[in-house]
């Protein structure tokens, strides 16, 4: 029983982190329909900006996180306006090449500016150290991740169901001309959606910094993981991403506890099985590239 509860906590933590980072990619791939293999760059930039704010500007944890998210969102906006928007109508392979190029440049820039080593985000005393839950100690930071992840999910649900944002986004993507004719600025929507995805990734990078360490090669290390979440969740399916993140994280965490000798074979086999039976993702998604 202890093991099950442990698996649950660790897997929800990891899953939340994956979701917050990958949801932007799902939106980019599924709704905006542009391939961005450099998405992990936004996550790691979030971590780097936060580190910088804490060590150089001497911000506290929360102000630094906020500043970092703002900076990452801006970075996303700039990249979208300057580079990605030019390739919206180009082939997927061109977008692959462009985003890989951006990823490489991003890695080199991070390495040049911040150095090759890992950057840790010093946690405030409230958040460092374990919290005794009786049957095991949970690092306090993990509880923060779960809480924040839940808040993000809640916020997105509210935004989608209570506002017209969700409907408009779909309108813009599916019927651009029609949407524009009633006054919706599609370029603005693309830019905002992309930038928000980047900002969320930045938040995810900060939250996940303990288990997905901030170092220059972050974008390549976790690319496959993020893409897996999007593929299994269904392109553009935001709730699907949540489910997929939880599923993937659950499989990985369980196998660490129960079948460590199989390593990551189980996760990949699971992915293979799911996708071969449900090519549009477990929960269905957009017919995307």
């Amino acid at each position: 029983m202890q093991i099950l509860a442990s698996i649950a906590i660790d897997s929800v933590t990891y899953g939340m982190t994956l979701f917050v980072i990958a949801v932007g990619l799902s939106v980019t791939l599924g709704l905006i329909r542009v391939v961005n293999l450099a998405h992990g760059l936004f996550a790691v930039l979030g971590g780097y900006f936060a580190w910088y704010a804490m060590t150089v500007w001497k911000f506290g944890y929360v102000p630094a996180a906020v500043a970092a998210i703002v900076l990452t969102t801006t970075a996303g906006l700039l990249l979208e306006r300057l580079l990605f928007s030019r390739v919206y109508r180009r082939s997927a392979l061109d977008q692959v090449l462009l985003s890989i190029g951006i990823m490489f440049v991003g890695i080199a820039a991070c390495g040049a500016v911040f150095g090759d080593g890992i950057k840790t985000l010093p946690l405030p005393p409230l958040l460092s150290g374990p919290v005794e839950l009786g049957f095991r100690a949970v690092p306090a930071q993990r509880l923060l991740v779960i809480t924040c992840g839940g808040a993000v999910v809640l916020a997105m649900w509210l935004a989608y169901s209570r506002t017209k944002v969700g409907i408009r986004l779909r309108a813009v993507v599916d019927h651009t001309d029609a949407a524009e004719s009633i006054g919706i600025d599609s370029r603005l929507f693309y830019a905002v959606a992309f930038a928000l995805g980047a900002g969320l990734a930045g938040l995810g990078g900060i939250l996940g910094a303990e288990i997905m360490q901030i170092e220059p090669f972050y974008p390549t290390k976790y690319l496959v993981t993020f893409l897996a979440v999007v593929a299994i969740g269904g392109l553009g399916n935001i709730w699907g991403s949540l489910g997929a993140a939880m599923l993937l994280s659950g499989v990985e965490t369980s196998s660490k506890y129960l079948l460590p000798s199989l390593g990551s074979i189980l996760s990949y086999a699971a992915m293979l099985a799911v996708l071969s039976f449900r090519p549009h993702g477990l929960f269905g998604g957009e017919e995307g590239e």
Partner: protein
Amino acid sequence: MELRSILLIAALALSVTSAAADTIKIGVIGPFSGPFASAFGAPFRQGIETYVAMNGDTVDGNKVEFVYRDLGLGDPARARTLAQELINNEQVQYLAGFVFTPNALAVAPIVQSAKIPTVIFNASTSVVVSKSEYFVRTSNTLPQVTVPVAKRALERGIKKVVTIVSDYGPGVDAEGAFKRVFEEGGGTIIESVRMPLATTDFGPYLQKIRLQKPDALFTFLPFGPPTFGFVKAYSENGLKEAGVTFLGTSETQETDLQALGDPAIGLETAYFYSGTHKSPENEKFVATLAKIHPGAIANPATVSAFDGTRVLYAMIKATGGKRDAEAALAAVKGQAWESPRGPIKIDANTRDIVQNVYIRVVKRDASGKLINDEVATFAAQPDYGVLFAK
């Protein structure tokens, strides 16, 4: 287009670096960029330059020049290509470096047929040195540093251990060596876990170990993010408080130690070099390093390169600057001297290194810096891998 200019400049640069007469070139292959640069690549260079600073850049009138080639990861094909280039184009007389075992193994046939003495600055799998008559190693082997950990654990009365290593060559070697010695000494291995190399979240593994309640865990992980993540997870999941001792080898090496922070305090490791080793040689070494590279941290790779350069110089001296691989090797086989790490010797048969292995515990020194404090010494440890294989 810019590309053409880049290539043009490159071609010019390469042609200009052709050798002058009487210069002896030594090719150094290592990770000078990428994730392993700070733990190995930069220290290699610094170790070489420290030796040169202390002993000059000529040997009996022959100028010595080091040619560096970057190889950031285990890529045997590229390792071989680089070695070929260095031998055929740069006309190097010696090769040095090598962090990853597959890279060293890949160049073995070439250095053997081209008769190029090669000094290995890191690759620690036992079998490497046996792959060519012209290999010499100045770093360590995994069994060499693992056996003392197990022996010490037995001395301390530790009875039950969980081994948890990264699932790759060195990790499996370390697990094997530890198990063998620990079980022979009467200890019990509760479980042997192998974690995928790509693991980033170590919490679940450590949680499970905590539930299993061993006296200690023994671990081996590659440098950088994995070690980092593991040590943090060890601390965050309360294993120290639960009484599970941390036994390791290279996890607390100096370049990453400060970044580990408080979680590292109390960790016990066995390794061949600590930056705070008390000896006149080490003091001189560290001082010279600080002078030519302010801010550089002396770590095991630095010392391995430093001693390796000494071996290279000895070979050049013995051959009078001429190409004579047999004479070069004959000169260094069996040589013993006092390195900054302590007394070392190059085994006359295996060409591998025989050295002291120290048990260290991490603590903060008077200035608040984290150090590997040597608490016990296992003298003149050979490569146990060779002995086990018999």
